[in-house]
């Protein structure tokens, strides 16, 4: 089961300007806090969720940076040569790490991330999730989002295209359920999505 999905910016190195920004995030059902007897204000709960997502995004970013440094890939290599370049998604760096209980979620979680150029995609998962499936799902989501939002074209912006993200997630990750989808099944769902969004 996926608990949250997020898209955020990735900087190639710490030194680069700006901050790690969450561009989209979605919780599939919220984490309850049954042990806490204090009545929470809705505002505080929401703040907590946003902070949790940001904490994950920052950690993904630093994992990405460390991995890129280790492979000797530097900022220059990460810029696409031209906007027409197809992104080699199967080569995009990915990784997983564990979040200890309480930091930032109550339960221990596993984060699976994928870095495509300067965008990070991440799933927050149950600790015993099938990581092969999670990885292929994450790559699929990234591919669909890049294709349909044309994210790599300058000017295209996912911040104002939430309906695309929602439409893709409802079909390929409904309520956070990882699906075993074969290639033709994916094509069918994708056609259905394109049809619904074309008019």
């Amino acid at each position: 089961m996926v608990h949250a999905f997020l898209i955020h910016t990735l900087r190639a190195a710490k030194a680069e300007e700006g901050l790690c920004r969450v561009l989209y995030s979605c919780f599939f059902g919220a984490e309850n806090s049954p042990n806490d007897s204090q009545p929470h204000s809705a505002e505080r709960d929401r703040l907590l969720r946003k902070e949790q997502i940001l904490a994950v995004a920052r950690q993904v970013e630093s994992m990405y940076q460390l991995q890129q440094q280790a492979c000797g890939r530097h900022a220059v290599d990460l810029q696409p040569q031209s906007s027409d370049d197809p992104v080699a998604l199967h080569e995009a760096p990915c990784g997983a790490f564990r979040l200890a209980p309480g930091d930032p979620f109550q339960e221990p979680r596993t984060v699976m991330w994928l870095g495509v150029l300067s965008i990070g995609f991440a799933l927050v998962l149950d600790t015993h999730e099938n990581l092969l499936l999670a990885e292929s799902t994450l790559r699929l989501l990234a591919r669909l989002l890049l294709d349909h939002l044309r994210l790599l074209v300058p000017g295209a912006n996912l911040l104002l295209r939430a309906d695309y993200i929602e439409g893709i997630l409802t079909r390929f990750l409904p309520h956070g359920q990882l699906l075993f989808l074969n290639d033709q099944f994916v094509q069918g769902l994708e056609k259905e999505f394109s049809a619904a969004w074309s008019h």
Binding site: L47, K50, C71, G72, P174, H175, F180, D183, A195
Partner: protein, 867 residues
């Protein structure tokens, strides 16, 4: 590029004020009210979503607008895109108190799915149960034409994971029955091309042919997620979803009533005879639901295992095959744990699978669930568990250390199954050199995992070798890098840093001795022997600047701390002394990575006193090695950390009170060595090769010789002479450039204090070599016990004798010398003390910390000064 653009947009969205938002909401309300589903509404809702989502603080939306968003969400005419946006806005605002949305408002199962997504986001357990009940009712209605249950099944799965008690037993049973049906009896014909209706509404008039396997052949058996076709029918979609949620559902349904309800139901149906094999297809339609589902799940998994062996035509499908393989094995594991009678049917498949996969490097990740299966089923699968563990622990890390995902899963697997390893735990322990390859290669993601794993990995037999390897971890990274360079032709995306070239390394490896060391470093199993890797360190030096090596070096201090925390829990005297000597030996033979030596010295020097405390006799027993260490020139002194710890330990534990074998002659020998050392460091000039000796080293040396003199009083004249020389030296103008003014002042003060103390040998002995009882807090709280009295006396005597002297404000015999944790009063503000025997000087920060380490807190004994 999405750098500047998003930043600007996010800022704009955050800066939208309440008033502006109010006007915007009014506009949206008007559009929604008018049921305008055009591009204006789409654009407005997209912007509204961004405004709500861009800030972590709650946005107050106009209540009318919120109501209209909910209305649109449940409107039969509103297009999907807009409904998705409405749901997204409502979800982004969650948790929200003024939501009037309810599942009853939904007009279709698709809308119900959307409404559920908003309600589940509220985080209210009661709400979750309500949603669960509503959805399950629709599922139970069993109308043949209920459109697309596929929208609802994931909701059930989510509800069950959020609130395991959401569904009563009857509902669980009913759903289990249907899941079994969906799994096993989906249509094996492809879906028809869509007519006017939805894509998946499959009119049964024209059948476009049977589904195929991933290799293109016509399906030989029932439909699974690995069956393909041009189009899929509704029940095939349900099949996919049912399998996707199967494992979680089994786990949630199983352990709550472990076999209780099943056995009742079963006795009704089948009597008491439960034949393992005959439970198969013949009578299966009579099985109670939970068992029915397990039966169908077993058949499904067996079919998946068969299908995963086929050669996929599409690349994406071969990835799915591996994921299915993993899932099938995990599901079989759950099934056999819930009902051991399945074991006899599952074992043969898994044995065959193990044989097949052990030779297939592409499927290496599927070996982990297989190993988990065998480990879970103890005796029945013990032989298999041993075989697969052997394969996993020895070969896999060596061959696949560079796969970050495998590394993560592998270490997780070890961590999660520690209790199950049984006899294989020893195998795991001796395989630590293999496991460390993962760590060396992917240290950032794995450090915390290994910190958790180390206590289980280390035992008395492997501790010494493991410590060596931990210290050599950065060179292991470099060696692995070199190994990859040697073995792989330059691919398009090499795994190593191509900007660092190492032609010399590859050349030098031809040397047989270097080759031998290289192989030793890359060993798969603990060999019991360790070799000096200095030659190899030199050889790997060009790789020391690789980012990966540097990252690994940065992880080592954390790992060392975890290692010592684990080791000190079980180490006996012999092991402690062995490890302590190893620290001395290795302190000057580390791989030269920037900053590595200093970081490691900091940890080692804090661990040395802890090890000595475990086995105080060590100082007497290993006098020879300690003498060698303090007499050896250069190396270990570069930072002074190690030297300070060792000298402190000598002063602390070289005493008959710790070991009867301690002789005056031994004390003399140490004195002479330390005397020579003290002169050397005090007079040495800083140079590029030898950095300035920290004043802590000088003060701790002075204190230690004074301690030795207090035990062997013949030495007192020599020590006094030495101390006065030190004082003169510190006061001489020539010393100025070498040490700072504060440092010199501290040295001078310390020398004076010790000189005065030694004027009264019996008091000196009492203060500098306190008995063990002194650690009790009573000695520091109670004015009438011996220590405060003695100190007050010394203080008064000294002040009278030398009025010009700095105040002698210490309690040299305080327990903190031995155990800072023993006396809580010995903290700043808690009565305070000044550990005279520890070289904490002036503004100099504490050198060491940690258990058993001298912490050196400088405050004053107010009660003493006031006396």
């Amino acid at each position: 590029m999405p750098a500047a653009g998003p930043e600007r947009l996010l800022r704009q969205a955050r800066e939208v004020g309440a008033e502006e938002l109010g006007r915007f909401c009014a506009r949206i309300s008007a559009l929604l009210q008018a049921e305008d589903w055009g591009p204006d509404t789409l654009d407005a809702l997209r912007r509204l979503f961004l405004i709500v989502a861009a800030t972590k603080y709650s946005r107050r939306l106009d209540p009318t607008c919120v109501v209209l968003l909910q209305t649109a969400l449940c409107s039969p005419r509103c297009p999907e895109r807009l409904q998705l946006l409405c749901a997204a806005v409502l979800r982004e605002m969650a948790p929200s108190d003024n939501l009037s949305l309810s599942c009853d408002h939904a007009q279709s199962s698709r809308q119900l799915g959307l409404v559920a997504s908003v309600l589940l986001a509220q985080g209210d357990p009661q709400q979750v149960r309500t949603v669960g009940q509503c959805v399950i009712k629709v599922l139970e209605s069993r109308q043949p034409e209920v459109p697309s249950l596929t929208y609802l099944l994931p909701v059930v799965s989510k509800v069950a994971s959020l609130a395991p008690d959401a569904f009563p037993e009857e509902q669980t049973k009913a759903l289990s029955k249907r899941l079994g049906d969906w799994l096993r009896y989906a249509s094996i014909q492809q879906g028809a091309a869509h007519a006017s209706g939805g894509f998946f509404s499959a009119p049964r008039t024209r059948q476009p042919g049977p589904v195929t396997e991933v290799d293109g052949t016509v399906a030989t058996d029932f439909f699974t997620v690995l069956s393909t076709g041009q189009r899929f029918t509704e029940d095939q979609r349900l099949n996919v979803q049912a399998f996707s949620m199967l494992r979680a559902w089994l786990l949630q349904g199983g352990p709550a009533h472990p076999g209780a309800m099943d056995s009742d139901d079963r006795s009704e149906l089948e009597g008491s005879t439960v034949s393992v094999l005959s439970a198969a297809s013949t009578a299966s339609h009579l099985l109670p639901p939970a068992e029915w589902l397990r039966e169908k799940a077993l058949e499904y998994c067996q079919r998946l295992l068969e299908q995963s062996g086929r050669r996929a035509l599409r690349k994406a499908d071969s990835g799915l095959q591996k994921a299915c393989l993993v899932e099938a094995v995990l599901v079989l594991d759950v099934l056999c744990r819930q009902d051991p009678s399945f074991l006899y049917r599952a074992l043969p498949c898994l044995r065959a699978l193990r044989t097949r996969l052990c030779g297939d490097p592409a499927c290496v990740r599927a070996l982990l669930p297989i190993a988990q299966f065998f480990l879970h089923h103890g005796e029945a699968a013990a032989v298999d568990a041993d075989a697969v563990c052997q394969h996993l622990f020895t070969r896999i890390p060596s061959e696949h250390f560079h796969s970050p995902m495998l590394a993560f899963e592998f270490v997780q697997f070890c961590r999660d199954h520690l209790l199950l390893f049984g006899s294989n735990l020893d195998l795991l322990r001796t395989s630590f050199p293999s496991l460390f390859k993962f760590l060396a290669w992917s240290s950032p993601a794995l450090t915390s995992e290994f910190v958790a794993l180390l206590p289980a990995l280390v035992d008395a037999g492997t501790a010494v070798e493991m410590l060596h390897l931990l210290l050599d971890l950065p060179s292991l990274t470099a060696a692995l890098d070199l190994q990859l360079r040697l073995s792989q032709a330059a691919s398009e995306r090499p795994l190593w840093d191509v900007s660092v070239r190492a032609p010399g390394c590859l050349e030098a490896l031809r040397d047989p001795q270097a080759q031998g060391l290289f192989q030793h470093l890359l060993r798969a199993k603990a060999s019991g022997t360790t070799e000096r890797l200095t030659l190899l360190h030199q050889l790997l030096q060009p790789l020391a600047s690789c980012a990966r090596v540097v990252q690994c070096a940065q992880a080592v201090p954390t790992l060392l701390r975890a290692f010592f925390a684990a080791v000190t829990k079980f180490a006996d005297g012999a092991l402690a002394s062995q490890l302590a000597l190893l620290l001395l030996e290795r302190s000057d033979s580390l791989f030269q990575v920037e900053g590595y030596e200093a970081d490691v010295h900091r940890v080692l020097s804090s661990q040395f006193p802890a090890l000595c405390k475990l086995h105080p006799s060590m100082v007497v027993e290993r006098a020879k090695e300690l003498l060698e260490f303090v007499s050896s020139p250069g190396g270990p002194r570069s930072t002074g950390h190690m030297l300070t710890s060792v000298v402190w330990a000598i002063g602390e534990y070289l005493s008959v009170s710790w070991d009867r074998r301690c002789t005056a002659e031994q004390i003399n020998r140490f004195f002479e060595a330390l005397e020579a050392l003290l002169f050397e460091v005090a007079q040495s000039r800083p140079s590029t090769t030898l950095p300035r000796c920290p004043p802590q080293v000088i003060t701790v040396l002075m204190t230690t010789v004074a301690k030795l003199a207090s035990r062997s009083q013949d030495l007192i004249p020599r020590v006094s002479l030495l101390l006065s020389k030190m004082r003169t030296l510190a006061q001489s103008p020539a010393a100025g450039p070498v040490h700072g003014e504060d440092d010199l002042g501290a040295i001078c003060t310390r020398a004076t204090e010790l000189l005065n103390l030694l004027k009264m040998p019996s008091v000196a002995q009492f203060v500098l070599t306190p008995s063990v009882e002194v650690s009790q807090p009573r000695y520091h709280r109670d004015r009438n016990t011996a220590l405060p009295l003695a100190l007050a006396l010394v203080s008064r005597l000294l002040e009278r004798e030398a009025g010009f002297l700095p105040r002698v404000d210490f309690c040299g015999g305080c327990c903190c010398l031995n155990d800072p944790s023993a006396n809580p009063d010995c903290r700043p503000g808690g009565g305070g003390h000044y550990a005279a025997s520890w070289p904490q000087v002036g503004s100099v920060r504490p050198l060491t910390g940690g258990a058993g380490g001298p912490t050196g807190v400088r405050t004053t004994h107010r009660w003493m000064l006031g006396a």
